[in-house]
Every structure is written in structure tokens, then in C-alpha cells.
Amino acid sequence: MKRLVNDGYEVVEELLEGFTKANSDYVELLEHDKRVVVSKKRGDKSKVGIIIGGGSGHEPLFINYVGENFADASVVGNVNTSPSPEPCYNAVKAVDTGKGCLYMYGNYAGDVMNFDMGAEMAADEGIQVETVTITDDVYSSENIEDRRGVAGDIFVFKAAAAAAAKGLELPEVKAAAEKANAATRSMGVALSSCTLPATGKNIFEMEEGDMEIGMGIHGEPGVRRDKIRPADEVVDELLGYILEDHSLDSGDETYVLVNGLGGLPLMDQYIVYRRVEQVLSEKGIKVYKNLVGNYATSMDMVGMSITLVKLDDELKELLDYPTDIPNIKF
């Protein structure tokens, strides 16, 4: 148990208390539902409501992506567990300005069931809610629509949030999210499990010196278990899967994210980025922009993922849109 928490069953409440205190200029919890983080930077113009969410334990995902020109609300579940329907619904009630709302979250069975129930509750009151589930994790299924959402989430969130900030209507905002999702591919590797605060234990055991290619952000098993290899070889393998799946050709431009899962040193992440850039530039693929750091974690899991977004002018404009969110430059 290498965690600094109090009661393992109270971590979400305490996390949210700390987070909202630390960022009281940006966010607050709904008075009547402490599982909904709402932006204080919404202003009073009418726009499509951007609602993101999922289980806790991925910080800064999802809560830090609430703010100006980003999400209007984040719905917060228990650790590694989708939020329940009521906060999904309460988020809609809180941020809808009459133009409807867009739910965006990683594609997991639990999230789909709960957010769908929230959307049904909103529909009963005549509020329109659309949904885009994010499916960037290349290796999680052959069928794109069955894939999981991992760190690529943040590009989909940002594209849709920018579209909403520009004043577009719900169908266009949804289309922006879908477009970003279709352009985004990720693949990860883990060198350890994360520690569940409720049990103080690892989700699964992993031998020191092993790695799992393709492991999910909740510790779902991946492609295969292997001995840790040099960073460059690991990058080459991950990029191999991504580029096989993604039509990125010489002359194309990408937004690159090297995302730490929580326990991997930033040093290693830059070493990884170095190799990603080498491989892409060998192939003539241009890095338009990049992010290197812990943007979507699995608590203390040691590992990282690589995300490539294939860009066109529309996506560039959306992903360049200025934002102001807690602690993150994006």
C-alpha cells in the first residue's frame, strides 16, 4: 500500500473536496449532488452543454478538463467505476442553456448504461442529450465501436468543447466530437498495476520486470505479458499497432500525446517522446503539436500510452482553441 489516503472508501469525496478547494476560481460541486463538478467559467451566453465523466482514479482526467472553453461539467464515479445515472442527469440540469448537451466519455459498458439512463431522465423533461463514446484504444477490439476510450479522450473533449464555445449547434458539436474520435488512436503499456484505495492492494500481480502491452487504463489485461524491453523497442511496437490501424501517411500532420499513467517518471516519458518523434519523422509524418506528461492516469500505475491524432484544418482550429482549465496547458 503505497498510497497517502484516509479511508479508502472516502477517497472520491475527499478528492473532490481538495480539488474544488484548490480550484475554487474554476469549479464548484453542485449543491444538491456532490458528484457533479461544474465550471464557474460558463458565462451566461447560451451554448451546447459539454459534459464529460467516468470513474475516479484517472486524475487529472476528468475533473481538470472542466473550465473555460472546455467541459461545463464532469460527472464523477467511484474509483474505476462509472458514475450512476442521477449525477449524469443532474449535470444536464445544471448546464443546459436550452441548446441541449453532449455527453462524452470512454466507451465502457458501465458508463454507457449509466449515462444512457441519465440521458433518458433528461429526455423525459424534454432536454436533448447526445452522446459520443470515445474509442481510441487500438488494441481493445477489431471493431472500432467496441474499443475502449483511454488518453485520447482529451482530444475529443477539446474538439467538441471548442465547437460549442464557437456557438455551434448540438448536431455540429457532436459531429466535431465524432470527427476527433475517428481521427484519434492510442495504445498503452503498463509495468505495474495500480493500487486500489479501498483494498490497499494491487488490482493484479505483475512480476517485477514484466510489462503488459495494450493494458487498459483500469488494469484490464492487454495483448500480452512480456519482459520489459528498452524504451525504443516498446515505442516501436506500440507505434506499429497504431500506424497499422491508422491511415497516417507521409505529409500528414499529427498531434502527439505521450501520456504517463501515474507512476512513470517524466524523464522516461520524454525519452519515449524522443523515439516517437524519430519514428514519425522517418515516415515523413509531421508533429504539429505535442503533449508529454500525466494527462490521463490510472492512479499509481507505472506505464504510458501514445496517442496520435490525424489532423486537418478543422481539427487544428478546434484543438488550437484557447482554453483555461486547472493546472493544465492545453
Binding site: 458501465g110 481493445s140 488490482i203
Partner: protein, 217 residues
């Protein structure tokens, strides 16, 4: 047709037994979920039934009927758990209560009907089919037993129900998953029992234990 009648006390007792049951099995369920999921199935049930335990007296005091008790328990699970098992077990209990409005005791056959309603709602919510490696693989064989218009005594029938569910849970071991987190595992899911199928029959066994008491009373 059996003449056994179950009163609200029976159900309150069963719901009171749930937290100790979950506490006992939590680690076992976590281990199953670790192998093919995200390792939290036991935690999820603990979170849900802790809340049920906390509110059960109030629910009992305020509920007009058995229907309300089931609905409240279902709503607590739905509201507190999240994930897959929150909406699935939440719907199960909420829908199990739907046909017994106004009643403060139900016959054993009515009780079987309640469970069938609950099972139906899990199917509706999760859209899983037999063989997808989910709790449905436990519930559907159990439902077959419940539907049989058998002359047996309630305890025997309910024992057969739980047995069928347990076998259904065992039957998930060699399967490749088609729903839930394990879906992405492909062949690597083979050899592992589905955690939701396991918790499903075990939860029904909690009903069985109290049923034996009620029948012999």
C-alpha cells in the same frame, strides 16, 4: 402450488444479510474481476450494500409495502454503485418490486415472479445473451427453473434455482466474453469465471438461507 407466504420481515432480513455476505465474499469476487476485469466487483457491491445497511431501518419504517422496499434498495444500488453492476443489480431489485404494489406479504410463487421480472430487466438493460460470459449466464438457467410449474416444495425449488445459477456461473469459465470489460480479452478470458455470474448466484443463496428458516417456521 406452494402455500408458503413471505412477509416484509423476510425481505428486510435478507437485505440485512447482504452486507455481511458481501464482506465475506468481497475478496473472492475481486480476484475474479482482477483476472478478466478491473478488480472492483467486490468493492462495488460493498459500496452498494453498505448504503443499503445504513438506510434499511429508515426504508423499513417508511415503506408502505414490499414493492417500495425493493424499489428503494434498487435505487440505492443504482445511485451509489455505478459501473456495470450498479445499473444491472439496481434494475434487478427495482423491477422485482414492480408487480407487488400494496402488498406486505407475497406468496412463494409471487416471489418467483418478482425474480423473473428482475432478471428480465437485467437482460433489457445489458442486452447480453446466453454465452456472452456475464451474470446472464447464471440468471437465465435460474429463470428456467423458476418458470417450471413444479409441485415441489419451495425450498427444493429455490435450491434448484440457486444450483442452476451456480452451474451457469461455472459454465462461464471456458467462454470468451462478448460483453463487459472482459470482452476485449479474447482468448485470454478463457479459464476464468465471470465475477458477476458468481455474485449473482451467491446473492440468491442469501435469499435461500432465509427461505429455509421461513419455510420451517
Amino acid at each position: 402450488m406452494s402455500t408458503l407466504v413471505l412477509d416484509r420481515e423476510y425481505f428486510i432480513n435478507v437485505f440485512r444479510d447482504m452486507l455481511p455476505f458481501v464482506d465475506k465474499e468481497s475478496e473472492h469476487l475481486q480476484q475474479l474481476d482482477s483476472a478478466i476485469g478491473d478488480g472492483d466487483h467486490g468493492i462495488n457491491l460493498t459500496i452498494g450494500f453498505r448504503e443499503v445497511a445504513k438506510q434499511l431501518d429508515t426504508i423499513n419504517e417508511n415503506a408502505a409495502d414490499i414493492s417500495t422496499i425493493f424499489k428503494k434498495v434498487g435505487m440505492l444500488l443504482l445511485g451509489k454503485v455505478g459501473g456495470s453492476s450498479g445499473p444491472l443489480y439496481g434494475s434487478f431489485f427495482m423491477k422485482a418490486g414492480k408487480d407487488v404494489t400494496g402488498k406486505n406479504e407475497v406468496t412463494f410463487d409471487e416471489f418467483c415472479g418478482m425474480l423473473l421480472n428482475g432478471i428480465e430487466s437485467i437482460q433489457l438493460r445489458g442486452k447480453a445473451e446466453l454465452g456472452d460470459k456475464t451474470m446472464i449466464d447464471a440468471f437465465l438457467p435460474g429463470a428456467e427453473v423458476l418458470k417450471q410449474d413444479s409441485p415441489e416444495d419451495p425450498v427444493e425449488k429455490f435450491t434448484a434455482f440457486v444450483e442452476a445459477m451456480k452451474e451457469g456461473a461455472e459454465s462461464t469459465i471456458p467462454l470468451i466474453a462478448k460483453k463487459g470489460r472482459a470482452m476485449r480479452l479474447g482468448e485470454r478470458a478463457i479459464g476464468h469465471k465471470d465475477p458477476g455470474a458468481e455474485s449473482a448466484w451467491m446473492m440468491m443463496e442469501v435469499f435461500l438461507k432465509r427461505l429455509k428458516e421461513a419455510a420451517s417456521a
